[in-house]
Amino acid sequence: MTVASTATPKQRNHFDLFEVPRKLWIEMSALEKKFLELSWKLHPDKFVNASPEEQELSLKRSSELNDAYRVLRDPVGRVEYLLELEGMRKEGEHKQQAPPELLEEVFELNESLDELREAKASRGDLASLKLRLEFAEKNFQEKLVEVDAQLQEAARQWDAAIDANASDADRKRIMVRLNELLNRRSYIRNLVTNVAKELS
C-alpha cells in the first residue's frame, strides 16, 4: 500500500475527501468511520520505512484528513467552511460590528463593564454591578441559544435547497443569511466571554 494509490491529483475539499455532499447535516458516526478508515491508509506511522517522498506525502495527506475532520465535526466550523468554499466568506473573517438590533443592549453592557473595571480598580462596591452584569450575561446567553437555533434552521434550508437542486439565487440568499447569523453568533459569543472573564 502506498500513499500514491489513495492520492488524488488535485487538492480536494473537505466534503469530497469524506465523500459527503455539501450539506450541513452530517451523520457523525459515518463521518467517524470514514475518518478511521482513511487514517489507516494515510497516517505517517504506516510509512516509517517508506521513501522520503512517500513520507512527505503521507504527512501532507494525513494532516489534510485531520484538518478536514476537525472542521466537519464542528457544526459552526462546518458552516464557516462551506461559506468560504462557496466564496461567501473570507477565511478567518469575524466581523466585529454590533448587529444593529443589539446596539442598545451592547451599549449598556459595555457601560456596565467599564463601571465594573473602575470599581475593581478603586475597590468600590462590586456586588450590585456584578448582579447587573450577571443578568446581562444571562440575557446574552439566551440570545446565543436563539442564534444557534436560527443557524440550525438556516442550515436545514440549505440542505433542502441542495436536495431540491434550487437556483443559484435561492442558494445565495440562504448563504447570506448563514453568514449574517455566523457574524451575529461570533459577536455575542465574544460578549459573553468578555463578561464571564470580568466576573470571574
Partner: protein
C-alpha cells in the same frame, strides 16, 4: 540486523524496552546491576569520563558539584523560564547562558539535550549488551503536555546519542498502548500519569475496526512542572525548617547534607505508601540526631495541595473530550508518584471507579514505547495511534494578541494555512511570530519561533504569501511558505526561540567524539574483557583455596587450559571469541565453584545451632 527499542526518558528514572519477537510481548531490558531502572543522573568524573545511572546517583552525595539529576526539567526551556526551578534544584547554570541553558558539571558545561543524550547512550549500551547487536533506532516518550521546544530538545538528545528517533510518543498514550495489550479494553480510557517531574492526563477512545485497534486520543492536559519531585521539595523544606528551629543547624539547600536529607526523605515517602507511619533518623554534623515520626495522615495533609493540583488539568481534559467522569470506562495510573495512596484515593473518588495499577507504574511507559517501536519498525500492523497536540498554535497579530490557527487537542499531523501580504510599498519582509499556548496575549504564550518572510519589492498588498504551519506526528512544528504570485516555494529556516539550531547540533555531534561511543564491536570487546577479568580473578582466588587441592588432576588441567585460552583471547578484540572462552572457563570451573561454595556455607553455619539455621 540493527534493533529498534522504546525508551522512557524520565525525570527520575529512564528505561529501555523491546518487544520479544517470539512472544510478541514488551519487556524492559535490565542494566548491568540487574535493575531495569536507570536513574536519570549524570556525573562527570574528574578523569573526564561520563558516569550515568545508579553509580552517578551515588555521586549525588559525594560529588554533587559534578552530578546532575532531573535534567528533564530544563529541556527546551530558556534561562528566564527556570528561575523558579533554580530555587528548588541544585542546577548550576552557566551565567553567560543566553537562549539555550548550559549547566555546569565540574569544570565543563553541557546543554540539557547533551546531558539527556548521555542517559540515552547508556540505555542504548544496555540494549546492545543485551541483544549482542547494534541498536540505532528508537521511539522516545515525552510528557503529553510538552511543548514544541521541549519535544525538539528531546529529539536533539536522541540524535546526539546516535539514535534515529522514529517517533516521539506521549507518555500517557504509550501507557494506554501497554495496557490495551494487557487488558483488551474497549471504550473511554483515562490515563493519569504523575511522574517524577511532570503530570499528564489523557483521555483516549479505544476503537476496534475491521483493520485493527485504534487508540484515538481525544484530549490531553497536564503540568510539565508537577510531580514526585515537588513532594520531595515540600518534605525537604518542612524538615529543613524543623532542623533549623530545633537544632539550630542550617545548611545550604544545595549542599551534600541537603542531598542526604533528600534521599532519606524519599525513602520515608516510599515507606509511607506501604505503612501508616515511618521514622526519620537523620544524623547532623553537630553529632545530634534529628528524629521525626511521620504519620500517613499528616503526610497526606502536607502533600494534598500537590495532589489537588492534578485535578484542574483532569477536569479540563474531560471538558475538552466532552465527557463526564462517569463516562470514563477505565482509568489507568502511571508514574511512580501514583503509588502514593492519596493519589490513588483522589483519582478513585473523582472517577468513582478503581484505577488500574496492574502494570508496574515505573515500567508501563517504556513498555508502551516498545510496542510503538515495534509497530513502526514493521511499518504495517493491526494497531494505530492517533494522538493530539496538547497546546494551541497561534500567530501574533496586531496589538500583541494571538490568533489561534490550530486549536489544542487537534489530531496530529495537523496544519493551517495563513495568507500574508505587505502593508507598505516596496516592503521587503513580513515578520511572523509563532506561539503555543491558550492565553490571548502573545506575552503570556510560549514563543516558538520568530522569522521574517522575504518578499520581492512591490506595491503594497500585491504580494501574497501563503504560510503553511504543520505539526507533525511528533508534535513538532514545520513551516513552509509559498509566494502565490510567483509560485516560488520556500522552506523557512525556523530559528527556535529556546532550541538549539541545526548547526549547533552538528557542532555538538562533532565535539561529542570525546565521549562518543566507540565502534559497536569495540565496545562489546571492552565489556567482554571486563567480564573476563572478573572471572579470571575469581578463578585465581578459587584455585588458592584448600578445596582446590581436592580437584582431580585432569579437571585442574582443564581449568588451567581454559584460563590460558581466555587470557590469550582478551589480548585481541573479537568479543564473540572472548564470550565463548568465558563460557568455557565457566564450565571448567563449575565443580571448583561448587566445592568452594559448599565450604563457604558450612563455614558460615559453624558455631550456630541447627535451630537457628
Amino acid at each position: 540486523m540493527a534493533r529498534t527499542v522504546g525508551i522512557d526518558l524520565g525525570t527520575t528514572n529512564s528505561l529501555v524496552a523491546y518487544v520479544d519477537p517470539q512472544t510478541g510481548t514488551p519487556k524492559c531490558i535490565p542494566g548491568p546491576s540487574g535493575s531495569t531502572l536507570c536513574p536519570s543522573v549524570v556525573s562527570l568524573d574528574p578523569d573526564g569520563s561520563i558516569i550515568v545511572g545508579e553509580p552517578a546517583r551515588r555521586r549525588l552525595l559525594t560529588q554533587p558539584e559534578r552530578t546532575i539529576y532531573s535534567v528533564k526539567r530544563l529541556m527546551g526551556r530558556g534561562v528566564a523560564d527556570i528561575q523558579d526551578e533554580l530555587k528548588l534544584f541544585p542546577f548550576r547554570i552557566d551565567p553567560s547562558s543566553k537562549n539555550v541553558i548550559r549547566v555546569r558539571l565540574g569544570d565543563k558545561f553541557f546543554t540539557p539535550p547533551e546531558i539527556s543524550a548521555f542517559i540515552l547512550r547508556e540505555l542504548r549500551n544496555w540494549a546492545e549488551a543485551y541483544f549482542g547487536e547494534n541498536v540505532d533506532r528508537a521511539v522516545i516518550t515525552v510528557p503529553a503536555y510538552f511543548n514544541d521546544a521541549q519535544r525538539q530538545a528531546t529529539k536533539d538528545a536522541g540524535k546526539l546519542a546516535g539514535l534515529e528517533v522514529l517517533r516521539l510518543v506521549n507518555e500517557p498514550t504509550a501507557a494506554a498502548l501497554a495496557y490495551g495489550l494487557h487488558e483488551k479494553q474497549r471504550g473511554h480510557v483515562g490515563v493519569h500519569d504523575l511522574g517524577g517531574g511532570t503530570f499528564d492526563i489523557s483521555v483516549l477512545k479505544l476503537i476496534s475496526t475491521s483493520e485493527g485497534d485504534i487508540y484515538q486520543v481525544l484530549s490531553t492536559n497536564g503540568d510539565t512542572h508537577l510531580g514526585g519531585d515537588d513532594i520531595d521539595n515540600l518534605l525537604q523544606a518542612f524538615v529543613h525548617e524543623k532542623i533549623l528551629q530545633e537544632h539550630r543547624v542550617d545548611f545550604s539547600p544545595h549542599s551534600e547534607l541537603a542531598q542526604e536529607l533528600r534521599q532519606a526523605l524519599i525513602a520515608i515517602k516510599h515507606q509511607l505508601s506501604e505503612n501508616e507511619s515511618a521514622t526519620l533518623r537523620f544524623p547532623l554534623p553537630n553529632g545530634a540526631v534529628y528524629v521525626q515520626e511521620f504519620e500517613r495522615a499528616a503526610f497526606e495533609a502536607l502533600i494534598r495541595p500537590i495532589v489537588d493540583r492534578t485535578m484542574g488539568p483532569v477536569r479540563q481534559a474531560l471538558a475538552d473530550a466532552k465527557l463526564k467522569p462517569s463516562e470514563i470506562d477505565e482509568i489507568v495510573l502511571v508514574g511512580g508518584a501514583t503509588r502514593t495512596p492519596l493519589v490513588r484515593r483522589t483519582v478513585q473518588e473523582y472517577f468513582d471507579r478503581k484505577p488500574h495499577t496492574e502494570l508496574n507504574p515505573d515500567e508501563v511507559v517504556a513498555l508502551g514505547a516498545a510496542v510503538q517501536a515495534n509497530i513502526l519498525d514493521r511499518g504495517v500492523s493491526n494497531m494505530l495511534l492517533l494522538d493530539v497536540t496538547p497546546l494551541s498554535l497561534g500567530i501574533e497579530t496586531y496589538g500583541g494578541a494571538v490568533a489561534k490557527v490550530i486549536p489544542r487537542n487537534s489530531t496530529i499531523p495537523a496544519s493551517a494555512q495563513e495568507m500574508y501580504t505587505t502593508g507598505v510599498d516596496n516592503q521587503t519582509g513580513i515578520d511572523i511570530h509563532v506561539l503555543q499556548g491558550e492565553r490571548e496575549l502573545a506575552k503570556d504564550c510560549r514563543s516558538l519561533a520568530r522569522f521574517t518572510l522575504k518578499v520581492p519589492p512591490a506595491p503594497a498588498g500585491l504580494s501574497r504569501i501563503e504560510v503553511k504551519f504543520l505539526i507533525d506526528a511528533n508534535g513538532i512544528l514545520q513551516v513552509a511558505a509559498k509566494d502565490t504570485r510567483t509560485g516560488e516555494q520556500r522552506t523557512i529556516e525556523v530559528q527556535p526561540s529556546y532550541g538549539i539550531s541545526d548547526t549547533e547540533i552538528e557542532r555538538m555531534l562533532e565535539e561529542s567524539i570525546e565521549y562518543a561511543e566507540q565502534d559497536f564491536a569495540e565496545r562489546q570487546a571492552i565489556e567482554a574483557r571486563t567480564e573476563a577479568e572478573t572471572i579470571l580473578a575469581a578463578t585465581q582466588k578459587g584455585l588458592g583455596t584448600p578445596q582446590a587441592a581436592s580437584l582431580p588432576s585432569e579437571e585442574r588441567a582443564a581449568i588451567d587450559a581454559a584460563v590460558a585460552a581466555l587470557k590469550e583471547s582478551i589480548s585481541g578484540s573479537d568479543y564473540k571469541l572472548i564470550r565463548k572462552r568465558i563460557d568455557e572457563l565457566n564450565n571448567a570451573t563449575m565443580r571448583l565453584a561448587e566445592l568452594v561454595m559448599n565450604s563457604a556455607v558450612s563455614t558460615a553455619l559453624q558455631g550456630r545451632k541447627l535451630a537457628e539455621v
